[in-house]
Amino acid sequence: MTDVERQTELPDRLRSPLFRLMASWEFLLLIVAVLIFFLNTQASPYFLDPWNLSDATYNFTEKAIIAFAMALVIIAGEIDLSVASIIALVSTCMGYAVQLGADTVTLIAVAVVIGAACGAFNGILVAGLGLPSIVVTIGTLSLFRGIAYIVLGDQAYSGYPESFAFFGQGYVWWVITVEMVLFAVFALIFYVLLHRTSFGRSVIAIGNNPTASVFSGIRVARVKFMLFMLTGVMSAVAAICLTSRLGSTRPSIAVGWELEIVTMVVLGGVNILGGSGTIPGVVIAAIVMGMVTFGLGLLNVPGIVMSIFVGLLLIAVIALPIIIRRLRQRLSG
């Protein structure tokens, strides 16, 4: 950090808490969310229907459930690109279990165990052997989905028990879906985990300076291992929801989700280089992305064109603060 930056940054902390809140990334996102909500109501008369809105949440709930765990991984300075492949493998294993006559409870158990095992595998390679997480998880991205392809080939599993449909298709009350409740519950859990526990503080510390974290007594490798395992388990939860919603499993399930989840996390204000980020930011980012895709869908924009928006959003979200900071520096000196 140069001296110029330090001078411009220090006075910020002396301003009132209200100003700080309003200048925060989350507040900015919230304004964007409201704006998009308003634009959507103008774009289509069907948008404000409660059942429509309830359906729209499926666009982001499953991804967001993984994004919470991914946020922690990225804050700790790592990345997990294998999440979508974990979904594929977990879903395949559940499908296999169904063929053996498993009931819903067994299916959940299978999912969580496989998800945790996949996460632990990543964790051992990254935290245990000290390998770069981006390469490791590109490898496991290939490996996990590859196993799903070996098992299924061009086939598909279906015939899930009726009670299993509850997770992806069930309603708790009126338009409130089971997935919405899971989304809210996990948002709360991860909020507490990151912002209110010493574990969360150590995650942020590791992202800021892993070497200093070791010297201050944080078990860096163990925390990282736990984060990868947590991401595996959350991917399993998402796999349960998605499989239950679709009612079938193909090896190409959830392909490309890793990108959207990383975008969600980065859009939520998490520093891709690690060290900072908040769960409320990720929550709002998830809702923004869900509404953008839903709104574009109402306007009959094809999925692949939406992906252009996602890509542009990802780059713009990171580029804009940098450009603004540069401009401010140029103006001030």
């Binding site: 981006i134 692949i304 992906s307 940098i322």
Partner: protein, 320 residues
């Protein structure tokens, strides 16, 4: 024994194993066929190598290939009289232009390369849909000359293989005999030290991205003309194979370590697996899992080798 030699031995051992089951596999004709089939992966791996050497990564290569390929196919369909050599130059330029988008974002805005190229990966794919309107360009819309070039034989080798050989030779020259090539290593090995030796780190990374973009562009034409079809999803997910080839070839994702021979051998390793699977009667569905396992084994192996030899000067100082 060097890493490249170990990899070469593993490759020979694998070919040997397959030929036990099916002796014809190791015949020169069959091996040249494997090389030809792997040519595009080799060229892409060379481009990826330049980027990875500078401590970056280019995940947009396959999308770049597909977009450039679609542009070539549509150009050819609209103006069949356009000379193919010109089209090849256009492909290279389009590819380089797309690569320079990545390069500028990394150079001027300091955005992490993985984010930039994850973004452009989807953007390029989406743009293909926009320009093609989701339509395919089929074989009958392409001129005969367009489709003939990769298959045309010169001295008994198809042009596709020749292009790969030329790229290998050029990359070898650039990497080992030019200041730019050495700058790739310096920037990845230790960016801070590179600055003090007068190297512009950002510009070097930019050049690496333009290079990988140009090679992707060439591959775009080669891919579309070889398979005689262009549509939105061609080469989908191929970027992972390219990264896999580099990792298997011993190119360190942390930058500064790698060789042309490694990239070529890494690509050939995947190429041999792909071509051997049907020969030994294993379903092609195994391929993805095998390349995933190969990446993981290679990265474990590389990490050990790097730790043993001690990579670069001032490594400790840099991490603080």
């Amino acid at each position: 024994m060097s890493r490249d030699a170990i990899l070469a031995l593993a490759l020979i051992a694998m070919i040997g194993l397959v030929s036990v089951r099916f002796p014809g596999f190791a015949s020169p004709d069959s091996l040249l066929g494997v090389f030809n089939d792997t040519s595009i992966l080799i060229i892409l791996a060379l481009g990826q190598m330049a980027v990875v050497l500078t401590r970056c990564i280019d995940l947009s290569m396959a999308s770049n290939l597909a977009l450039t390929g679609m542009c070539c196919a549509m150009l050819n369909a609209a103006y069949p009289q356009l000379p193919i050599v010109l089209l090849l130059v256009v492909a290279m330029l389009i590819g380089a232009l797309l690569g320079s988008i990545n390069g500028v974002l990394v150079w001027k805005l300091d955005i992490p390369p993985i984010v930039v190229t994850l973004g452009t990966l989807t953007i390029f794919r989406g743009v293909i849909f926009l320009i093609s309107d989701g339509q395919w360009v089929n074989a009958h819309e392409m001129s005969p000359a367009f489709k003939a070039l990769p298959r045309a034989e010169v001295l008994g080798l198809p042009m596709l293989s020749w292009v790969a050989l030329i790229c290998i030779a050029l990359m070898y020259f650039v990497v080992t005999r030019t200041p730019q090539g050495r700058a790739f290593f310096a920037v990845g090995g230790n960016p801070d030290a590179a600055v003090y030796t007068g190297i512009d780190v950002g510009r070097t990374r930019f050049n690496a991205f333009v290079l990988s973009g140009a090679l992707s562009g060439i591959c775009g034409y080669l891919w579309v003309s070889r398979y005689a079809v262009a549509y939105v999803d061609i080469a989908g997910g191929f970027e992972l194979d390219v990264v896999a080839a580099c990792v298997i070839g011993g190119i360190s994702i942390a930058g500064g370590i790698g060789s042309v021979a490694g990239a070529v051998l890494g690509a050939l390793f995947l190429g041999v697996i792909k071509n051997a699977l049907p020969v030994v009667n294993i379903s092609p569905f195994w391929q993805q899992a095998i390349s995933g396992a190969a990446i993981i084994i290679a990265v474990v192996f590389n990490a050990r080798a790097e730790r043993r030899s001690g990579r670069i000067i001032l490594r400790q100082a840099e991490t603080t």
